[in-house]
Amino acid sequence: MSQQVDVQAEQTEQTIRESLNQALYEELERDDSVILYGEDVAEYGGLYKISEGLYEEFGDDRVFDTPLAETTLGGSAVGAALAGARPIVEIMYADFLPIAGDHLINYAAKMYFNYGDETSVPMVVRSMYGTGDGHGLHHGQSPEAWFMNVPGLKIVMPSTPKDYKGLLKSAIRDDDPVLFLENKMRYGESGPVPEEEYTIPLCETDIKRRGDDATVVAIGGMVYEALEAAERLSDRGVECEVVDPRTVTPLDTDPILESVEKTNILVTAQEAPTFGGFGSEVAAQVIDDAFFYLDAPVKRVGAPFTPIPFAESLEEAYVPTAEDIETAVIDAIET
């Protein structure tokens, strides 16, 4: 329904890392106004090697390193986009996005609104989130809730290798500022990706698994956990529909509502703390527009309302998992 990719097309198995690298490569090659910069993205290839080889291929006019100052990464991207470039900026960890926040929230997001003409800022800020690697307080937080109530920003949080590639290409071509969030724990995840060139539109919710018994709306890395939970639940005779919005803001809500109208059960899943999060917004949308279809209270799966702890035992307890989703679905069904 949402994918513009021919399902018959040739596919290859590849990782999210490879998908992202290809997307960057293809867009740098396609459009001379695309530039990629950030801390250690050039020769080093980015801390997670996402931009590996691009500096060698496109040279330091197109792919370059910067001093360590996220404020100016954000602000310079706004200016560069306004003056005709299409900057892709890497903010090494999403935990540092608030440092660039002034420019993302107060400027990038409001530029099209304030100019009031056709002027906009086509820029992409790529950043990494994801918990489970012992990186602790400042290297793994999920930032979507910090930014998702900012009108004018688009926030993209893909899950699969195919989505990562198609959505990053669309984000680069998009005329609005896009925050593109990558789960660093999932870069090695592999899956089928079309061999032909393709893009996937932003702001389109995708159904990752069909099922009639419960709707699980999951974002980013949690889509994998939701799919795993769905397999286990299937063994118990419960068929989940796994809904992946892919774009957090602005949210394509119709497919979520349609799914809930069919299954009558809603569970949300995110890596960020549950309170004030993406799942809360999805729950509110469903309560607003599909309340009478619900057979049970909405269950939200997410992290507890506490910072990401370091100790392995604590971190393990902190990160939401497939089991948590499984339990939430069963709880809802048994209510």
């Binding site: 602000g75 200016g79 420019h103 119709d254």
Partner: protein
Amino acid sequence: MWERMTQDVNVDDDTARRFLEEMLRIDIFEEETKERFGDGEIPGFVHLSGGHEGSHVGMGAAMRDEDWLAVGGARLIGQYIAKGVPLPEIMAELYGRVDGSNRGHGGQMHVADVDRKLYGHAATIGSGQNPAVGLALAEKVKGTDNVAVTTIGDGGTSRGSFHTALVFAAYWDLPVVFVIENNQWAISTPAESLSPDSLSDYGDPHNMATESVDGSDVEEVYRAVSDAIERARNGEGPSVIESRVVRLVPHFEGDKETYRDEAEYERLKEEKDPIENYRERLLENDVLTEGEIEDMVANIQDEVSEAVEFARESPEPEPEAAYEHVYRTPLYGQGE
């Protein structure tokens, strides 16, 4: 040697006349703005530029139309005018009307005009230097020789954001001219306790060209900014200029200025008003006559009255307009 009482005019007569005319335009436009605000016609905040007119006009005149101006500080209207935004569009924006420069979406603090290369979204003080770095970066990538000029107040220079912009501009050797309008005040907080002797010294650690000039002298600012722009255009990198101005107005309309020393304030008004000083200088140098200046003032008053009429007649935006222009590209999944 004897000290001259009369200062020379160091630009040609036409330029000198334009300088005075443009400063008067700012002054008369702002006097009218103050009245219209006082009468309740203009909503929101109103920050005026009194004392900064010479700095704004000198800087604006030094720039080509193709050069970017990323504004900062709180004295903005003068900068909009100096960058060539037509008075009716500014006034209609102050009124919040559909024919305003930003269709009523922005207001006094956010007049912006991409065709005139005005990056005018300035209200988190001390942020504008970062987009200026990006503007210059894109111009460099495109291979033009356009320059980005960016202004900031003394208050704004305390933000880390200002300093990281300096770091990047120097690192990439970009054509950026940082103009610090030091009027000694950040609302009621005096600049004198800031540690540098001149705020342009903030460029020193980056080995940038720096200069501190009397910002109430339009010709001094014109010369200094022209030199800096020329260096930037020739690939000699960024500069920092401190333009030492005076604030002859309250921080914003409604500020009682209880924190200012009255005698000192009077002295500044007497000695440092950029318009009055230049007017006398042009008269003494026979560049203009009293009569010609009166004609100039009368013409500008007409322009300003027309701008007010334009703003008054322009409709208020329909409520739906608040939802327009949030996203540039369609939301594929939504609506339709």
